[in-house]
């Protein structure tokens, strides 16, 4: 095979792996949007916050150390212990559940029945707040996150493809693990929503709030539940991205990349989020490789996803798998 084709295949594969990570963030959006009709802009910052908290707990950092030092003139920074990864993940999950509860208790409960744009703005406010909180609690410097996931080039794929084509594909072990974890996560979510009582309640709420209320499902509990699940998904996404490129503010910008993913897949569809993520991940890498870098001066990944989604929506306004939009006067 000619080199160009091999490169293109490698780029495609890597794009698919990146797409999995976009899909993970998009998944959190879809869950909340389905259950409560809220377009949760804060999802990306939740991933950042979860990753920051995880690193902070693992390293035994003192929360708000900087603030405490300034106010009381002390000099604390670390407790002096390290926490094993699994325990730290569990503790972070507790924090995320607490966050979900607080959001529902303090914000969403007071905004019931508002128009969607107001709720959307509230989640932007939430994103700002959470970003500031994360920086205050754990400091704004770039942190390394290492929960023991394998990293680096996958030797087996490299040597196999080298034997077959005379050119070894570079595929990161981390991406493969991310794909596996994403698959497990999605399967788990599907099983949860199909076979458990709470999962069924979740789907009922997504279908019709009032009907769900009338059969005795507690809306506020379901919302806390769904925000907790979204927090969990954010944590997983945060771990993956954090392990890949360090825990830093740009992590929250992946949330914006998840938006075109959502548009492609449709706001209400879990399979849509996955397929959309794969298409965007693959599309932007291929476009950069075939058109962007040679002809347009590179860095087309910044906007390609949005323009693709825009063009796509002109032909299919509800996305790939979204519910058909029916409008009545």
């Amino acid at each position: 095979m000619p080199d160009q084709v091999l490169f293109a295949i490698e780029v495609t594969l890597n794009g698919l792996m990146a797409g999995v990570l976009y899909a993970l963030v998009a998944l959190g959006f879809v869950l909340i949007f389905k259950a409560s009709g809220i377009f949760n802009y804060a999802q990306g910052v939740m991933a950042l916050f979860a990753a920051l908290t995880l690193v902070g707990i693992m390293d035994g950092q003192v929360p708000f150390a900087h603030l405490i030092n300034v106010v009381f003139g002390t000099n604390v920074h670390h407790f002096g212990w390290t926490v094993p990864a699994l325990l730290a993940i569990a503790l972070t999950m507790v924090v995320m559940v607490g966050f979900a509860w607080a959001v529902n208790r303090l914000v969403l409960r007071h905004l019931v029945n508002q128009v969607p744009i107001i709720l959307f703005m509230a989640t932007i406010g939430l994103a700002y707040f959470l970003e500031g909180l994360g920086d205050m609690m754990w400091g704004a410097d770039i942190k390394k996150l290492d929960v023991g996931l394998p990293q680096g080039i996958n030797g087996w794929i490299d040597s196999t493809t080298f034997d077959a084509f005379g050119y070894g594909f570079f595929i990161d072990n981390l991406d493969i693990v991310a794909t596996l974890i994403a698959a497990i996560l999605v399967t788990g979510l599907v099983l949860f929503s199909q076979y458990t009582k709470q999962g069924r309640a979740l789907r009922a709420v997504a279908d019709d709030h009032q009907a769900a209320l009338s059969v005795g499902i507690s809306l506020s509990f379901i919302w806390v539940l769904v925000w907790s699940i979204a927090g969990f998904v954010a944590l997983v996404a945060g771990i993956m991205w954090g392990a890949k490129s360090g825990v830093q503010f740009s992590l929250s910008l992946i949330a914006l990349k998840a938006l075109p993913v959502l548009m492609l897949g449709g706001f209400t569809s879990i399979p849509g989020a996955i397929v959309g993520g794969l298409i965007i991940g693959m599309g932007e890498k291929l476009f950069e490789f075939l058109v962007g870098a040679p002809y347009l001066g590179g860095a087309t990944e910044i906007w390609f996803a949005y323009v693709l989604a825009l063009v796509f929506l002109v032909f299919r306004p509800q996305g790939l798998f979204g519910e058909k939009i029916i409008e009545r006067v």
Binding site: F39, H66, L67, V70, V107, H110, L111, Q114, V115, P116, I117, I118, F120, M121, A122, I124, G125, L126, A127, Y128, F129, L130, E131, G132, L133, D135, M136, A140, L256, L259, P260, L262, M263, F267, L296, G297, G298, A299, T300, I302, W303, Y306, V307, A309, L310, L313, V314, P317, G319, I325, E327, R328, V329
Partner: protein, 358 residues
């Protein structure tokens, strides 16, 4: 007692339809305008102009523009930063290509060019609605910023990739460049703001504005009663982008002087202006002013209080500032989702009966 409409008689439709039908409101408006034109320029210094007045005036123009699109026509847009960049770069190219023409013309033309770009990116709004449209406008934001970053023609092949405003004068007084008197820059922006508000107010209460509002309230119903959605939506995009483009041109030429596109016109700017519009009040010109004032003054106030008053390090103060801004936005939305404009309306209602509400 103080705020009365009793005894304020109108004898013609024209009088009844004026922007400030009450004598007291009219008087207040002329007072504020008089103070803004004849008093403030003589008392302000460099710090006040650069920290408070210029950002307020310029953001108020941008907020009026976005309010026309979001508040009056109901088309949610997150591309404001990108459109401001169009205004800035158009102004820069015009200033350097035609140095002999007045900068007034350049700023207006920059607005016109932005309007054309806005119409192009507004075309999808005919098919895409609501949040889908909001995300679609993000395409404008990212694409435009990328374009100005990558295509060297836009920044005249300068080595740094920045654009910086050359020295230009109006009526013999420097407006842009290094040697600008604070009052001159202030008056220049004030003139644009007053004109923008006047145009926007009169557009929104006329037939055009009613078409926009019909589209906002329900586009299908509006179509049935004879509003052409193509013309209404695209005209909203054009007018809105015109104002946003002017704001971008002023932001670059008068306020900052030198601009790096990703930093000055990034996605954060889009959100900032959207916050102004929402906190000020959707569908209200007064709200655009109030929102812009609030979002400009809040960081200045917090910074002075935390860094100056408590002696905190700046990075910590910045983090707390982000938290406070976020929390305030949420609190505002909970307390009064319709923003300052609604608060002002309620206050006026109360004042009419005060101090004898029964």
């Amino acid at each position: 007692m103080l705020y009365r409409e009793a005894g304020d008689f109108k004898t013609s439709y024209a009088q009844d339809n004026q922007t400030f039908p009450l004598k007291l409101d009219r008087f207040g408006y002329y007072c504020i305008l008089g103070v803004a034109v004849f008093v403030i320029p003589f008392v302000i210094n460099d710090y006040w102009v650069n920290a408070v007045f210029l950002p307020f005036l310029i953001y108020a123009i941008a907020a009026i523009g976005l309010n026309i699109l979001v508040g009056y026509c109901g088309q949610l847009s997150l591309g404001t930063g990108g459109f401001m960049a169009v205004g800035a770069y158009a102004c820069y190219k015009l200033m350097t290509a035609f140095p002999e023409i007045s900068i007034l013309v350049h700023v207006l033309l920059a607005g016109g060019i932005t309007a054309a770009v806005g119409v192009v990116f507004g075309l999808p709004s005919l098919r895409i609605k609501g949040f889908y449209l909001a995300v679609a406008t993000l395409a404008a934001q990212f694409f435009l910023v990328w374009l100005f970053n990558r295509v060297a023609w836009f920044y005249n092949y300068s080595a740094s990739g920045q654009i910086s405003a050359p020295e230009r004068a109006v009526l013999g007084v420097n407006i842009t460049g290094a040697n600008v008197e604070p009052w001159a820059a202030y008056l220049f922006c004030l003139a644009f703001l007053v004109a923008s508000a006047w145009i926007a107010r009169n557009l929104t209460r006329g037939a055009t504005g009613r078409r926009w509002m019909a589209i906002r309230d329900m586009d299908i119903a509006a179509e049935i009663i004879g509003v052409n959605p193509l013309r209404a939506k695209l005209s909203a995009f054009a007018v809105s982008s015109f104002f946003v483009g002017i704001a971008g041109a002023l932001f670059f030429a008068v306020y900052l002087g030198a601009v790096e596109v990703g930093e000055a016109f990034g996605i954060q700017k889009s959100f900032l202006v959207l916050f102004m519009v929402i906190i000020g009040g959707l569908g209200s010109i007064f709200g655009s002013f109030a929102g812009a004032a609030f979002m400009v003054l809040l960081p200045v106030f917090l910074k002075n209080a935390l860094v100056g008053g408590l002696g905190w390090p700046t990075d910590l103060a910045t983090h707390l500032e982000i938290m406070i801004v976020g929390a305030l936005i949420i609190i505002f939305l909970i307390v009064e989702p319709h923003g300052f404009a609604q608060l002002w309306r309620i206050t006026k209602e109360k004042l009419r009966l005060w101090p004898f509400p029964h």
